[in-house]
């Protein structure tokens, strides 16, 4: 199983072959509070790293979710439409948002590894 990588905007990406499965981090779901709606991209959408690709709404506010890598959206987690609370329950597993067929798998190397991200988050509070 490959390593999970993290962005400064609190997305995570785990690369399996050339497909990156992506979501928002546990820190992000906690900060957002009860998640009540997730707007997912269309399959086939071409995205660039850092580009807005989804929206997550909590009872408090709407937040943008950015693509952790360049590529094409090849799958979305339809379970989130009926059960957006899955993101609160399991942000970094069952609460995944979308899968991107990465244009350049090495791009995840520019993202943070887990200890670096945890340190980064500590610095935010």
């Amino acid at each position: 199983m490959s390593q999970t990588r993290f962005t400064k905007e609190h997305e995570w990406a785990r690369v399996d072959g050339d497909v990156a499965i992506c979501g928002i981090t546990d820190y992000a779901q906690k900060a957002l509070g009860d998640i009540v709606y997730v707007e997912l991209p269309a399959i086939g959408k071409k995205v660039k790293q850092g580009e807005q690709v989804a929206v997550v709404e909590s009872s408090k506010a709407a937040s943008e979710v950015y693509a952790p890598v360049d590529g094409e959206v090849v799958a979305v987690n339809d379970n989130l439409s009926n059960d957006p609370g899955k993101v609160n329950a399991a942000a970094q597993s069952d609460g995944w948002f979308f899968k991107i067929k990465a244009a350049n798998a090495a791009q995840t190397g520019s993202l943070m590894d887990e200890p670096t991200y945890q340190n980064y988050v500590k610095g935010l509070s």
């Binding site: 509070g33 009860d34 009540v36 709606y37 707007e39 929206v55 709404e57 009872s59 408090k60 709407a62 439409s81």
Partner: protein, 376 residues
């Protein structure tokens, strides 16, 4: 950092909020809990199923004292039919400006007992406190106005509220919706209790002496049915109940006629007038208004929040959302807003522009969640 930044005030329950892991935010000049450990969703649903305790001590509690004609006097500054109000009853009303715009919405209680009939008790919004107080003093110079700064205010709301309060004092559970009286609760002192609230549920608002409120709130929270509820769930509960929030549905540029609150203007008052703003209100009652407050329910699950534009099928601007969010009991998005009167009929299709896209929605009957008041 602005050195002149106004210092935020705290209610008597600040320490209790912090000890309950309340997430503290600035609200109307106070440091208030937006949610506790459970979170907005659970707090909301708990209130509808059990009982929720809210600290609403930031709101203003005002006593106006005059002569035997006090009810007639206050009709100068409010459009309610206060002379018809019975002892021990409450009216929802407004302070209006000369243009008929709403300066504040408030609750007025006529005391029950014979020896209190020269006074009324009023609860006003926190953000409007100082302006309201100055306005009342100016417009009613012969009336003595007192802000009760020695009292805190709690709301106990939900289907289990009466059962819980009854354990501390049985008498107030005999009150019906929109009735009030004074009760002495053991170890708490003299409380002003009304059967009212801001959730659409049965419940009480309880004015408690500052000195004992922390102990009383803790004792209420120790009851198995009671959970502390923050401002986040207070907002989603009142939105589902179709109740206006000052500064959102109501402001100085909006009249009660536009706000679809004509029911709160007494019948006699509509024809007689005699209150500040009456000319505009009577004109609007006669000629109609160009925009009206409505409930709007998006067809999909995307939320439409405050300031979302409302358009017709051709994309023409027809209104604006004033409150919008997720309704936990409805299990979907709910909104209130103002639309051009021709679009205000229940069932009308409208579109809400969310992130640049027009999402289909419908004008619906308010409330979204049925009121469950304890009526007589």
């Amino acid at each position: 950092m602005d050195a002149h930044m106004t210092e935020l005030k705290r209610t008597q329950l600040y320490n209790l909020h912090v000890s309950l892991q309340g997430k503290i935010v600035p609200f109307a000049g106070y440091e208030m809990p937006v949610q506790y450990a459970a979170g907005i969703l659970k707090e909301h649903l708990h209130t509808r199923a059990n009982a929720g305790l809210f600290d609403i001590s930031h709101m203003g509690q005002v006593v106006l004292e005059g002569g035997a004609d006090i009810l007639k006097q206050i009709e100068k500054i409010m459009p309610g039919d206060f002379q018809e109000l019975k002892p021990g009853e409450i009216r929802y009303s407004f302070l209006l400006n000369e243009q008929g715009g709403v300066m504040d919405d408030l609750m007025v209680t006529r005391p029950l007992h014979a020896d209190e009939q020269n006074s009324v008790f009023i609860i006003i919004n926190a953000a409007c406190k100082d302006d309201d107080f100055a306005h009342m003093k100016k417009q009613l110079p012969h009336i003595k106005a007192t802000m009760l700064n020695d009292r805190a205010l709690l709301a106990l709301q939900g289907p289990k509220a009466a059962e819980v309060l009854g354990r501390f004092c049985a008498a107030p559970t005999k009150l019906k919706f929109m009735q009030a009286d004074k009760f002495t609760i053991k170890d708490v002192g003299l409380c002003y209790i009304s059967r009212s609230g801001y959730t659409g549920e049965d419940g009480f608002e309880i004015s408690v002496p500052n000195a004992t409120v922390e102990k009383f709130a803790s004792d209420l929270l120790a009851q198995a049915e009671v959970m502390p509820i923050g401002l986040g769930a207070r907002d989603s509960l009142r939105l589902e109940a179709g109740l206006c929030l000052y500064g959102h549905e109501l402001d100085t540029m909006t009249t009660p006629v536009e706000g679809n609150l004509v029911w709160a203007i007494g019948k006699r008052r509509r024809s007689e007038g005699g209150f500040i703003g009456a000319a505009t209100i009577q004109q609007q009652l006669k000629d109609g208004v160009s925009r009206k407050r409505v409930g709007i329910r998006p067809d999909g699950r995307a939320l439409a929040r405050e300031q979302t534009e409302v358009v017709d099928s051709a994309g023409k601007h027809i209104g604006i959302i004033t409150s919008g969010g997720f309704g936990p009991s409805v299990d979907g998005p709910v909104c209130m807003g103002y639309v051009e009167s021709t679009f205000a009929k229940v069932g009308t299709s409208v579109f809400l522009v969310v992130r640049g896209k027009p999402l289909p929605a419908k004008v619906v009957t308010l409330p979204f969640a049925p009121h469950r008041y304890m009526k007589g």
